[in-house]
């Protein structure tokens, strides 16, 4: 049987549907079984028995952003390198290994220089890289 090309995506849809069904089903079944008597104390955020002070949606350190920044650059780099890596073998088998290797390594080196820059600037030192930005 010649399976149609798009059939390969069918299990993905089915599995995603399963995930939704599992969550919804468990919460619905649980609604029948479990007790439900909320009170204000129960529904407050846990702060080791103290009254919660303020809300938690406040500012965070910029370090998190710099890390995710480096990550997204590498993510995109991966997106560009995956097809190239996949055809490397074919190119090598027809004797074009050297130029492909050179361009591949050049690509990596350019990006690695970015890593070295961030390294030197202390973006990877979690503790001592920044002072708290002073509010003017």
């Amino acid at each position: 049987m010649a399976s149609h090309g798009l059939d390969v995506y069918m299990p993905i849809i089915i599995l995603m549907a399963f995930a939704v069904i599992m969550i919804v089903g468990a919460l619905l079944v649980g609604r029948i079984l479990r007790p439900h008597n909320p009170n204000a104390l129960k529904e407050s955020a846990y702060e080791c028995g103290e009254e919660p002070i303020g809300i938690a949606w406040s500012n965070f350190n910029v370090r998190f952003y710099v890390v995710s920044l480096i990550f997204i650059i590498f993510d995109v780099e991966g997106a560009l390198m995956f097809p190239v890596a996949a055809v490397f073998k074919k190119f090598a088998s027809i004797g074009l290994g050297a130029p492909v290797f050179a361009s591949f390594v050049l690509f990596i080196l350019i990006l690695f220089s970015g890593v070295i820059y961030c390294w030197k600037k202390g973006d990877f030192d979690w503790v001592k890289s920044y002072r708290i930005p002073s509010s003017k």
Binding site: V62, Y65, L69, I73, D75, V76, A79, L80, P133
Partner: protein, 101 residues
């Protein structure tokens, strides 16, 4: 049912929605979100035309680079937003009136 106009229509909707978000919102992050929608609509158009019109893969390459540029744009744009917030404690687009802090 699955033809070029249907893809173009979805792409058009994405573009219009992104346009609307960009104009209507005052939050810079929301405006960047609208830009992502517009870039997606452009990439979708490229792939749809590639499939239905000329059938080589140049449109895919173009879309790939659009995704690359979208990621780079989001990184730099959000960095600017964060810096702006550190200076002015605001992400309101109307506060961004000075080139120098």
């Amino acid at each position: 049912m699955i033809s070029l106009p249907s893809y173009l229509f979805i792409s058009f909707l994405l573009f219009v929605a992104g346009m609307f978000v960009m104009i209507a919102r005052k939050n810079i992050v929301a405006i960047l979100l609208g830009i992502e929608l517009i870039l997606n609509s452009a990439a979708l158009n490229f792939v749809a035309y590639t499939k239905f019109v000329n059938n080589n893969l140049d449109g895919h390459i173009m879309s790939l680079f659009i995704i690359v540029i979208a990621a780079a744009e989001a990184a730099v744009g959000l960095a600017i937003v964060i810096r702006f917030y550190q200076l002015r404690e605001s992400v309101h687009i109307d506060d961004a009136t000075q080139l120098q802090s």
